[in-house]
C-alpha cells in the first residue's frame, strides 16, 4: 500500500520533471501538501507555492490530505522517504499534525505551515496564518455599516471543530454586539457547506421573514445563503462572507453579496516557499516562527482587483 503510493508519487514527480524540463531540480524538491483542491482556496495555495518554488529553482511534488490526519502522515512519510528539501503544509488538524511535522523534523526536513496553526511551536520552522480575528472584525464593521447599525440578522457558523469557525464568530460579535440595535435572530452552523447553508437559510427565512442581513463564516456558506435568498425573492437581504473567493467576487460585482474578507492565500503560500528557500540557504528565515497576516476587506470598490485569493496592486 505504502509502496504503491510511494511509486505513484515518484511517478508523478518524474512526470513533472519530464513535462517541465526547463525547471531542473538544481535546488531539490519541495513537497506541497494541502486539503483537497475542490475548494479553490486550497488550490490557490498549491498553485502559489508551486509557482514560487519553480521560480526559485525547485522541483515540486503536490499532494492533498483531504483533511485526514492519517493520510497526511502517510504523505509526510512519502515526502521523507523521497528526501524532499522542505514541506509546505496547510495542515489537517492542530493537534494531529504535530506528530507528522515532528517526524519530518527528526528526518532533517523543515516544514513551513500556512493558513492554519498547529498547537505547538518549535517544531515547524514557520507558521504563517491569516489573522482571522482581525479579518472578522473588518467584515463585521462593513456589515454593521451596510445594515445602518440596526436590524435583524442571522449568523452562519462554520464547522464547530474548526478553530477558525469560533474565532471568526467572536471577531464578528466583538464589533456587532457594540450596536444595541443590531438584533441576532438566528445563529446556526452550516459546516462551511454551500448546500447546507442553502437549507439553513431557507429555514431561517421562514421563521424570520423580516430579516435584514446575514453574516457568514465563509464564502461558500455565503453563496448558499445568497442562492436561497434569491430563490425566495429576497435579494434585499445584506450578505457578507469571508475568504475572498472568485465566486463571491463575481456576486459582489453583480450586486448580490455585498462584501467579503480576503485571506491572502496565494501570497501566503509564496511567502512560505520564500522562507523555506531562505532557511535552506542560510539556516534561518530571519523572522519569527509564527506570523499573523492581516486580511483585507473586499467590497464593490475593490472587487475588480481580486483574482484567485490575491489582490492586484
Amino acid at each position: 500500500m505504502k509502496l504503491t503510493r510511494r511509486l505513484m508519487i515518484s511517478a508523478l514527480g518524474l512526470a513533472m520533471t519530464v513535462a517541465m524540463p526547463s525547471f531542473a531540480a538544481a535546488e531539490g524538491t519541495i513537497a506541497i501538501i494541502t486539503p483537497s483542491h475542490d475548494n479553490p482556496f486550497f488550490k490557490a495555495e498549491a498553485v502559489g507555492a508551486e509557482a514560487r518554488a519553480k521560480e526559485l529553482g525547485y522541483d515540486t511534488v503536490v499532494m492533498v490530505h483531504d483533511d485526514d490526519p492519517n493520510k497526511q502522515l502517510e504523505l509526510f512519510n512519502t515526502a521523507i522517504g523521497q528526501g524532499v528539501k522542505a514541506i509546505i503544509l496547510d495542515n489537517a488538524g492542530a493537534d494531529a499534525t504535530v506528530a507528522a511535522v515532528q517526524a519530518a523534523k527528526d528526518a532533517g526536513i523543515p516544514s513551513f505551515l500556512i493558513d492554519r496553526e498547529i498547537k505547538e511551536s518549535g517544531i515547524a520552522v514557520s507558521q504563517i496564518v491569516s489573522n482571522n480575528y482581525q479579518g472578522a472584525q473588518l467584515g463585521a464593521e462593513e456589515f454593521v455599516k451596510l445594515m445602518g447599525e440596526a436590524g435583524k440578522y442571522a449568523e452562519l457558523l462554520g464547522r464547530e471543530a474548526d478553530t477558525n469557525a469560533g474565532i471568526r464568530s467572536s471577531g464578528y460579535h466583538d464589533i456587532i454586539d457594540q450596536y444595541p440595535d443590531m438584533e441576532m435572530v438566528a445563529q446556526q452552523t452550516a459546516n462551511w457547506s454551500q448546500t447546507e447553508a442553502y437549507t439553513v437559510m431557507e429555514t431561517i427565512l421562514q421563521a424570520n421573514p423580516d430579516i435584514k442581513g446575514v453574516i457568514s463564516g465563509n464564502d461558500t456558506m455565503a453563496m448558499g445563503a445568497w442562492a436561497a435568498l434569491e430563490a425566495a425573492g429576497r435579494t434585499d437581504v445584506i450578505v457578507v462572507g469571508f475568504d475572498g473567493s472568485n465566486d463571491v467576487r463575481d456576486s459582489i460585482k453583480a450586486g448580490g453579496i455585498k462584501a467579503t474578507v480576503l485571506q491572502p492565500a496565494y501570497r501566503q503560500a509564496q511567502l512560505a516557499v520564500e522562507q523555506a528557500d531562505a532557511y535552506l540557504k542560510n539556516g534561518s528565515t530571519g523572522v519569527d516562527e509564527k506570523q499573523l497576516m492581516d486580511c483585507i476587506l473586499i467590497n464593490a470598490e475593490n472587487a475588480d482587483k481580486l483574482e484567485t485569493f490575491a489582490l492586484a496592486e
Binding site: K119, G122, Q137, I167, G171, K290, Q291, D294
Partner: protein
Amino acid sequence: MRAMTAILGLSLGLTALGACKIVPNPEPGGENASAPQSDEDRMAAKAGEIYTAQLVPNVSQKAIDLPTLTTALQGGLDAAGQAHGIRPQAEGSPWNFLVKGQGTVVEANRKSRGATMAVDVTGDKQADVTIQLGPVIKGTALRDAADFIVFTDYRDQIEFAKLARALNDRAHQAVQLPEGDLTGKTFRFEGATTLRSATDPVLVVPTLLQEATP
C-alpha cells in the same frame, strides 16, 4: 532555547497526563497548569501579570510626543514606522506607535459602549488624537506595540486575540475620569495606536490618563 525547553516540558506533560486534554503554553511557574481554565481566564491572568509590571512602564519609556509622530507621518507611514514604530514580523502587518502628550478635550462621547474623547494637543482647537475610554476598546494596539509579546509564545490566534482583549480590559479598568462633561478639561496621556495609513485618525488606547492643569 526557551522554545526547546517549552517543548520538552510540554512533551513531558503530555506523557504524564496521558489521555487528558492539556492546555499548552502554561504560565511560567506553572501554578495553574493543572487547573482547567478557559482561554479567557488564562489570558486575563496573563494580562494581569504583565500589564502593570511590564506594559505600562514600557509605554512610559518609549512613547514619543504626539506632534513628533504627526510630523513624521508627513513623510509617509513607512518612514514614520521605521523611525518610531513597532510592528510584528509578519508581512502586511500595520505599524504601531507608542505616544504621549497633553491636551484639551474638544469633544467627548461617553454614551457609547466604545466611549472616546477627542483631544487637541497643539492648541488650535482641532482634535489631534482620539482616546478610547471603553468599556469596549477596539483593536490590538496595546498588544502589538509591545515588542516583548510575541505570537510564537502563544498556542494559537484565539489565545493571542484573547490576550489583546484582556489587555484592553485592563486599560479600561485603569481609566478614572471625573463625572459629567469632559469638554474643556485638560489631560495628560500615554498609550498605543495602530496605523494602517498615514492619514488614519490616531486612535489611542491609554495606559495613562490624568487630569492636568492646563
